[in-house]
């Protein structure tokens, strides 16, 4: 059995089978959750490329799978990443019990994660761009559910994500030429420009970011949150693979300066725009822009410190973005619009979710005591050593996002309470927070973990094994 079969083909096959299930119950969600949990557990416990004796049976998970003449490799070094990705998938599936993103969510999420894993496994890794585009295409029926009119955000997103494919594939071809003649400045510039364009499109960096906030107004926040989190995470690891693979990229300080500048610009603009938003979906989209900018900054810091900061920040952002998307999705089901002016009564009725959403925004802004603070501090420290201007941009961006969070807090606390219908008439999923045990468990666990990591960031130390996937960059 190969790792690609287990973590790529199996989820895609099961996901496709779940799409055929037509009854309106939770069976697909339970099955997808079960599979996702098992795959997480296997990734965590079973070493790859080692023969294991299970009683009389010997099992080996081979690292490579060959398909159409190309290899898909998920080796022992990537096992921690596999564990994390499938753990994140398990969390998003768990959240679906609260948020109800649609009947297709369990099946399509398994297929999408399978495709994202294929993007990380394929050799040569440049082909990953095609898997990322395929994952986006697969996700479209959830972004635009049957019976709804697709908007301009969907149209723009489709175009921008597909634009990234030619850019990245041609970059790969050009980079091969650059390796042969690294002194050819024209070739290096062309390759660099195409690469920046390709990743700009797929990571929704300024000025190609507009589709995310537009789409956030048109679709369910949980569905968009899942897509942007996995798409951007896998694309950033793909970017790290680029830098790891090509010596001229790795040894060129201009590449890291460009990443720092792009990341800082993303943090600044995302934060400033977030401070102006009155629509919670758009606020989440700009918070995501700040998050991606922060990760780019971490890569741009370079060396072992930058890589460690990147993974520390990424893991905590995953936790925070998941909760933010879940809270907004529950509110989205309760009210016709996520405009702050219309949300007051819903926020009063769901104080735990409102508090969680506010805490998530503050955590993404880098507020002390909350999980991502230590990673933010490392980024600010590194930025300060390289450019005070970029540090100022970054701090202003964080301040902007903080303002967005405080605006939500104000909308919640200043809302007028409305009379509530008797609770016993409502199903559990529609009860107010205080009477809903699932929301209590979700909010409390989430908050404790966020504060726990904020106060004791050393808990994340074992996860730093992720950096070993990029030995050249780690040096």
């Amino acid at each position: 059995m190969s790792s690609a079969f287990l973590w790529i083909l199996l989820p895609i096959a099961v996901g496709a089978a779940l799409l055929l299930y037509r009854r309106k119950d939770d069976t697909p969600l339970y099955l997808a959750l079960g599979l996702s949990f098992i795959l997480t557990w296997i990734a965590w416990q079973f070493p790859i490329d080692v023969v294991l004796q299970l009683g009389s049976i010997s099992v080996e998970i081979a690292p490579t799978f060959t398909f159409l003449g190309r290899n898909f490799t998920l080796a022992e070094g990537q096992r921690m990443l596999l564990t994390f990705i499938y753990f994140a998938q398990t969390l998003w599936l768990l959240g679906a019990f609260l948020t109800r993103p649609g009947q297709l969510f369990p099946g399509l999420s398994l297929i999408a994660v399978g495709l994202f894993m294929a993007a990380l496994a394929v050799q040569p890794f440049l082909y990953a761009a095609l898997f990322l585009a395929a994952a986006f295409l697969v996700w479209v029926p959830l972004l635009v559910p049957p019976g709804t009119q697709p908007g301009r955000g969907m149209q723009r997103g489709l175009i921008f994500i597909l634009f990234s494919v030619p850019c990245i594939l041609f970059t790969g071809w050009l980079l091969t030429g650059v390796e042969g003649s690294p002194g050819n400045v024209t070739l290096v510039l062309r390759a660099g420009l195409l690469m920046a364009l390709g990743f700009g499109f797929v990571l929704a960096l300024f000025p190609f970011h507009s589709w995310v906030p537009m789409l956030a107004q048109e679709t369910q926040p949980y569905v968009l949150g899942f897509l942007t989190f996995f798409l951007h995470s896998v694309s950033l690891i793909f970017l790290l693979s680029f830098v790891e693979r090509y010596v001229w990229l790795r040894d060129n300080p201009a590449v890291f300066q460009l990443l720092l500048a792009m990341g800082s610009l993303g943090v600044f603009l995302g934060g400033v725009w977030a401070s102006q938003q009155r629509h919670l979906g758009r606020l989440m989209a700009f918070a995501g822009m700040v998050a991606t900018g922060g990760l780019l900054q971490a890569i741009g810091l370079g060396g072992a410190a930058g890589l460690q900061t990147f993974f520390a920040l990424w893991l905590l952002q995953a936790w925070v973005l998941w909760a933010l998307a879940a809270c907004l999705a529950v509110l989205y089901r309760r009210v016709p619009s996520l405009q702050l002016e219309q949300l007051g009564p819903a926020l009063q009725r769901h104080p735990l979710l409102a508090a969680t959403a506010v805490a998530a925004l503050l955590a993404l802004a880098g507020l002390p005591l909350l999980g991502p603070f230590a990673a933010h501090l490392a980024i600010w420290h590194g930025l300060g050593q390289q450019s005070v201007g970029l540090l100022m941009l970054s701090l202003l961006g964080s301040l902007g996002l903080l303002t967005g969070g405080l605006r939500l807090l104000h909308a919640w606390l200043s809302a007028t309470p409305t009379p509530e219908p008797p609770e016993e008439r409502l199903p559990a999923s529609q009860r107010p927070d205080m009477a809903n045990p699932y929301v209590w468990v979700f909010s409390l666990l989430w908050m404790v973990a966020l504060l726990g990591y904020g106060l004791l960031p050393s808990f994340l130390a074992p996860v730093q094994r992720l950096v070993l996937m990029f030995p050249q960059l780690f040096q």
Binding site: K24, R70, G102, L130, A134, V140, G147, Q149, P166
Partner: protein
Amino acid sequence: MSDFLGTLVVLLLLITALYILVNQDWRWAIAALGLQYVWAFLLLLMAWPAELAVVKLVTGWIAASVLGLTRLNLPQQAAASGNVPSGRVFRLLAAGLVILMVLGAAPRLADWSRAFGIYQAWGGLLLLGMGLLQLALRSGFFRTALGLLTLFSGFEILYAAVEGSTLVIGLLTAVNLGIALVSAYLLTAPTLEAEE
């Protein structure tokens, strides 16, 4: 490929791409897209064996059929909603600019890398430019799909010169079909029964 045939194929590509750009009738646009894939197939033959290149032709025809059948089954009102009229003259002028740029850029591209023949460079860049123009000037998911498929045809003509991996061909085929299927879904989504 002889000079005459190469030039003829590029000219035919230009005519079909221009027709897709300026034409208002979706039926003729689909027919032009189908023909465009034939000319693109002829250019692909310069880099790939026929059995590989024909995959692109069949894929393109399937994509065009999916779009055509979807449009055919749309209610008239919904079909008309994606059709924002804009000046044909303006689109032709914009296409003229693209053609001028391609005339300048294609020989330089062919000079710069020996991987590309001049006809591949002309055809590929022309379709890339026309696809971009279609995406920029026409609205609605039907026209977006035509633009994306045209753009990808141009890209594949160029990329075929530097990459012949079966996996990549398969994945690009899947992406082309995906564009057609997703566009068909987005065109029909408003008319589908809403999920509870």
